[in-house]
């Protein structure tokens, strides 16, 4: 199921599908968010924003609006 990264619960492992068009698109790519990357949602700040994710070995923080720009594949079984 393809959904946006900000909708993913803490602790879940997902795969990056694609990025929405925005002026942050290349920046997000440069930070390692490219299709096929495994991303784990680690934790959220109070009020659910920002979000910390693990991108294959390093931790990145994103505002919720920025996480919303990332489509991910989540598998139910995880």
């Amino acid at each position: 199921m393809v959904t946006e990264l900000d909708k993913i619960a803490n602790g879940r492992l997902v795969t990056v599908d694609s990025l929405k068009d925005s002026n942050l698109k290349v920046k997000l790519m440069e930070m390692g968010l490219i299709s096929g990357k495994k991303v784990k949602v680690l934790f959220r700040a109070p009020f659910g924003d920002p979000i910390a994710i693990d991108i294959e070995g390093y931790v990145l923080s994103l505002r919720r609006s920025e996480a919303n720009l990332i489509y991910v594949n989540s598998e139910k079984s995880l």
């Binding site: 290349v26 790519m29 490219i34 700040a45 070995g57």
Partner: protein, 648 residues
């Protein structure tokens, strides 16, 4: 030979810089921009090298004004600071992301050295990097491994510099690096590059499954919705305790030493203008710069620990949501908190905010936070007009007022930030796509160099302005038009004899009358009609003008004007005199209304030339310090007016 040091943030780039240059570091300016250029020198095998530390970036394509410096200096062959060779620091424990920048830089066809740093961390993560395989992909680059935190690898870098290859056209990605503005072309080029890097990683890196790391365990506590804030609060309290306990000792020593120095020169030199200039203008002026060093050094020592340990990124994470509505960033929290001790390190600490608009707003509102120099002013005024009573049986009214003054500053800082956010238009939208580095033990040598750098920048860049203004202020307080001051002095002397004052009281009386007739006295009297509506007379006017040197000077100026010798540390005699001061109609000058009005004035007004000098230094223009003086002045006047009307 000019070398450029490039790398992602958090790769140990500054450790490498320190390792290679040691104490031979200088801060300059990248041509035409507000970005500081850190550079240093070293020599090896008879060659003199100049190393420029470029701002950390994840890609050659710039996303901020700091990163644009990297693009412009490397791409533009005309650039006057274009390096002749490049040292690229690569985090071995995060090779894939780091290779994006490295491969882009490699394709620029400058002689390139890859410094594979943090090799120990990669080992701990069970990452095996096949160096020979890596070398095959970048045949024209030299590759060395380092662990800069334990100062290992310096000689390997030196040796590799000897064998740097002149480039013969080999490229990692055949497509050209595109323009800085064409996002579509960048996307295409980056996609190709990342596909190539992915293949490379599959070939040269083998990874074994790993356990939950130390960092993620610590994160569970440090960003916890309750514990996280509690810990941050404790950290702040501890830092301030240290600063207030330990900065005062050296500050008192500096204060005393410069007073002694002035006395010494006044004693050995012949009387005259030049001696006065030296002993009352220049020496105290330099003292006024040096006095800030302990606070700046201590604050940056602690900020350095927070930053190097990786904790700062967690603080930014938990504070971001609260700062955002005010046009600020999670990163603004440290500059604003530092400003409670002193706005100077606060403004300098705003450097860590990558977004220019957010950095500017932070700098502009930071002096609204009540700094430690306001404490003597607040204490004097509170003791003067606020009765020593208790409310609700336990709360001390004086303490409550002090608390309200601090709160007033904080609230106003946030309100102004919100307004500025709406006014200052800028395309660059703030973002928080921020790497959270792994926790590391801070290194004392790195901390020491950071502190040294900040102190140097303050003393050399801001110090000049502070010295100049303090000499001007001294001249204004020492000289008056024609012989007006001498006449006033003689008159005061005669009056003192008639009043039968002791020699000491005579001296005080004379200097008070002289100040009244100096240029500053005249300014104070001239502005009286302007400050009358907010409840001040010309004596307060004079103190307002003199305390532009530094807020705490207010107390000393009041003492001079009221002819009170400031012998003991207590302000009791001054308080008595001020209480007795009467207006023509017999009512006391220091009514509750005037007192509160003055307090509000000091919360808001930009009465600190040192901060102005630092804002000029950090924004590289006089525009913003002037904006700051004007907006804070208007706030102070209006606030004081409202306070005066309310309490009259």
């Amino acid at each position: 030979m000019r070398l450029g040091l490039i790398g992602n943030p958090n790769t140990g780039k500054s450790s490498i810089f320190n390792l290679l240059t040691g104490l031979k570091q200088h801060i300059g300016n990248f041509p035409g921009v507000t970005v500081d250029k850190k550079h240093g020198g070293f020599s090896h095998a008879g060659i003199q090298y100049e190393l420029i530390d470029f701002p950390g970036t994840y890609s050659i394509y710039p996303r901020s004004s700091d990163e644009k410096v990297v693009y412009d200096s490397l791409i533009n062959a005309e650039s006057e600071i274009r390096p002749q060779a490049l040292l690229v620091v690569v985090d071995a424990s995060n090779l894939e992301r780091n290779l994006l920048l490295f491969s882009q830089v490699y394709d620029l066809q400058l002689p390139t050295l890859m410094i594979l740093n943090m090799i120990d961390l990669a080992d701990r993560r069970n990452l095996k990097i096949d160096l020979a395989g890596l070398k095959q992909k970048f045949p024209d680059a030299e590759i060395v491994t380092t662990n800069a935190r334990i100062k290992s690898g310096k000689n390997r870098i030196y040796k590799a510099l000897e064998t740097l290859k002149v480039r013969a056209g080999h490229k990692f990605n055949v497509s050209e690096i595109t323009s800085a503005d064409d996002l579509e072309a960048q996307e295409k080029e980056t996609l190709e590059r990342q596909a190539l890097i992915r293949d490379l990683i599959n070939d040269v890196v083998t990874e074994e499954k790993q356990e939950e790391t130390f960092s993620s365990k610590l994160d569970k506590i440090l960003v916890h919705p309750v514990l996280g804030y509690l810990i941050f609060g404790l950290v702040l309290i501890t830092i301030f305790q240290f600063i207030f306990t330990f900065a005062n000792v050296p500050m008192d020593i500096i204060d005393g030493a410069f007073a002694l120095l002035s006395d010494y020169f006044a004693g050995v030199m012949p009387e005259g203008i030049f001696t006065d200039l030296l002993t009352q203008g220049i020496i105290p002026g330099i003292g006024g710069v040096v006095i800030f060093i302990p606070q700046i050094a201590l604050l940056f020592f602690f900020i350095g620990i927070l930053e190097e340990s990786g904790y700062l990124a967690r603080v930014v994470f938990i504070m971001d949501r609260f700062m955002r509505p005010f046009g600020l960033n999670g990163r603004s929290i440290v500059p604003l908190m530092s400003s409670v001790a002193c706005a100077i390190p606060g403004v300098m600490a705003a450097r860590t905010i990558p977004n220019w608009k957010e950095r500017l707003i932070t700098i502009l509102v930071a002096p609204l936070m009540s700094c430690s120099a306001r404490i003597p002013v607040y204490t004097l005024l509170i003791a003067l007009v606020i009765p020593e009573q208790k409310v609700f049986g336990f709360m001390n009214v004086q303490g409550l007022v002090l608390f309200c003054l601090y709160l007033l500053g904080i609230v106003m800082a946030l309100v102004v930030a919100m307004l500025l956010n709406a006014i200052i238009l800028k395309k660059e939208k703030g973002s928080l796509i921020l790497e959270m580095p792994t926790y590391k033990m801070p290194r004392l040598s790195n901390l020491g160099l950071t502190v040294l750098e900040k102190v140097r920048v303050f003393v050399w860049d801001a110090g000049k302005i502070i010295l100049a203004i303090s000499i001007i202020l001294w001249a204004l307080a020492t000289y008056g038009p024609s012989d007006r001051m001498e006449k006033a002095g003689v008159e005061a002397d005669q009056m003192a004899q008639q009043m039968d004052l002791s020699p000491k009281e005579t001296d005080q009386f004379v200097s008070s009358k002289k100040l009244e007739n100096s240029y500053i006295g005249i300014i104070g009297k001239t502005i009286e009609p302007v400050i009358e509506p907010i409840g001040y007379d010309w004596k307060i006017g004079i103190s307002l003008v003199t305390s532009f040197a530094a807020r705490e000077v207010f107390v000393g100026s009041m003492a001079t004007i009221y002819a009170v010798q400031d012998e003991s540390e207590t302000t009791a005699p001054l308080l008595e005199k001020m209480r007795r001061e009467k207006l023509v109609d017999g009512t006391p000058v220091y009514s509750l209304a005037t007192g509160v009005s003055l307090m509000v004035f000091y919360v808001f007004a930009m009465m600190c030339m040192a901060t102005l000098a630092v804002v000029k230094r950090e924004t590289k223009s006089w525009k913003w310090p002037i904006v700051q003086v004007v907006y804070m002045g208007v706030l102070a006047y209006l606030g004081a007016y409202i306070a005066y009307i309310t309490f009259s």
